[in-house]
């Protein structure tokens, strides 16, 4: 039997409600006549559902009590009140109630609202449980892949230091090594995407230069068989934007793609920056000489998650992460042809970030 707590300051109405609820097959575990008593009884009796009057004597009204109860326990609350004015409903909504019954009410209306609330609550719990399970599995997957990959990477590294290793084998192992590192990167991207979704980003003013330099170093170490040449006039304390250290991931992933897909042994990337839109934004462009990106998928390479898109345009979720980070910073990112109209000449990844001084 589902346990219900009735919060109602008029004792006749409360008793009547108790009687009807009992007839409907619920157990009324308690009756409270003020906000403070409602909080105390909810703590003590742990009901499955609370029917809460809004206007009551004492310091705390029904909405205050509901707010406090919700912060402590996961119990569905239905407001029962004679007032249905816009302002009150708006305030009540902030507590995310499972229903709102206006007096005078009919028994079947109360019953239907309670049943819907209990059902919704059950579904919500199942969903939460499922979400926790998926999160745990993702976490274990990431952790264990890192551990397994550690063995693979390190033993390949040991192989590479074997004296007199034929040059051909050296190349094979390096390729396998880089692929294996890609697995770690994927795991790290998934983790960052989940964290972004869950916690968002704390923004501050940040100079992108050191992040950019670090990203270049990382990409250079990742691709030992290729040369990376960056043409760039960026300097320290020049491009200061609203952002976060995660912007390094943005630069890393854009450069990583430029190196990965460019078939030349020496990969050239040109980086330009300048203020646009009355100085409100910094526009940073990354121009590569890779195979280019067809118009049909220029947008889709960034939006796998939003579209729940299983089709892959590139492995690793790097550009998905790029877009999510930039949007959390209040910026924009897109790709266009390096030379307009001829996509085979390479791509231009454009990043717009809000400038720290807000523009003048």
């Amino acid at each position: 039997m589902k346990k219900i707590l009735v919060v109602e300051d008029e004792s006749i109405i409360a008793m009547e409600l108790e009687l009807h609820l009992t007839e409907m097959g619920y157990e009324v575990v308690g009756i409270a006549s003020s906000g403070a008593e409602a909080i105390a009884k909810a703590r003590e009796l742990r009901p499955d559902l609370i029917l809460m009057d809004i206007v009551m004597p004492g310091e705390k009204n029904g909405i205050d009590a509901a707010t406090e109860i919700k912060s402590e326990m996961d119990v569905p609350i239905i407001f029962v009140t004679a007032y249905a004015d816009e302002e009150r409903i708006k305030r009540a909504k902030t507590v995310e109630p499972f229903g709102y019954i206006v007096k005078p009410y009919e028994d079947r209306e109360v019953r239907a609202t309670i049943e819907v609330a209990l059902y919704k609550k059950e579904m919500e719990s199942k969903l939460k449980e499922e979400k926790n399970r998926v999160e745990l599995l993702t976490d274990i997957l990431g952790h264990d892949i890192r551990n397994l990959n550690q063995g693979i990477l390190s033993y390949m590294e040991l192989l590479l230091t074997t004296p007199d290793l034929p040059e051909k084998f050296n190349g094979y192992i390096r390729t396998a090594f880089e692929q294996s590192k890609g697995i770690t990167k994927l795991v790290s991207n998934v983790r960052k995407l989940l964290e972004l979704q869950k916690q968002g980003l704390k923004l501050k003013n940040i100079d992108v230069f050191p992040l950019f330099i670090h990203a270049i170093d990382e990409v250079k170490t990742a691709y030992s068989q290729k040369e990376l040449e960056i043409k760039c006039e960026l300097s320290e304390n020049e491009v200061v934007v609203l952002g976060n250290e995660l912007l390094e991931e943005v630069f890393y992933n854009i450069l990583d793609n430029a190196v990965k897909y460019d078939r030349h042994d020496t990969v050239e990337v040109e980086v330009n920056s300048g203020k646009v839109e009355d100085g409100k934004y910094w526009k940073v462009e990354f121009k590569d000489n890779g195979p280019g990106i067809p118009d049909e998928i220029k947008e889709r390479i960034f939006t796998r998650l939003e579209r729940l898109d299983k089709k892959a345009f590139a492995t690793g979720l790097g550009l998905t992460l790029v877009k999510q980070i930039i949007e959390k910073c209040g910026g924009k990112v897109w790709v266009e042809d390096r030379i307009k109209g001829d996509r085979t000449k390479g791509s231009n990844f454009v990043v717009m970030l809000a400038s720290a001084d807000g523009g003048e």
Binding site: G142, H143, D144, R146, N147, N149, Q150, G151, L153, S154, Y155, E157, L158, K181, T184, S188, R191
Partner: protein, 127 residues
């Protein structure tokens, strides 16, 4: 040439014990003890006559995790130098707060780990 560093490896993955052994011996360092759980780590550490220069500490282990083991070992010897080596990015701050000297995220490159181990060994004992 660097001086030989003695290392105590704490990790629940047998393959990683083998790996640490292989990469440390190559550089002339020595794994002097191994534990596969935090509980076991504290127990072994207590019994050791010659304490290791550096302890490599995993986080997720069957009974006692790396944080608890770190606290346990530091209780025995507050000067113990513990280098966390974990696949858990999220525990870095907690590990350092518990008294670890450093944190290395798996996957690492061999040279990076060796450098971290040598640096940890060279750190002055804490007061």
């Amino acid at each position: 040439m660097n001086e030989m560093v003695t290392v105590f490896v704490v990790d629940d993955e047998p393959i990683l014990h083998k790996l640490y052994h292989d990469i440390l011996e190559r550089k002339g360092h020595s794994v002097i003890a191994s534990a596969y759980d935090g509980e076991e780590a504290v127990h072994i550490y207590k019994q050791m006559n010659d304490k290791p220069d550096v302890i490599l500490m995993d986080y997720r282990m069957p009974q006692k995790d790396g944080i608890e083991a770190t606290k346990g070992i530091l209780k025995v010897n507050p000067k113990a130098r513990i280098l966390f080596v974990s696949a858990d990015e999220s525990v870095k701050e907690e590990a350092l707060a518990a008294g670890a000297c450093g944190f290395k995220l798996k996957t690492f490159k061999i040279d990076e780990l060796i450098e971290d181990i040598e640096n940890t060994a060279r750190q002055k004992p804490r007061d």
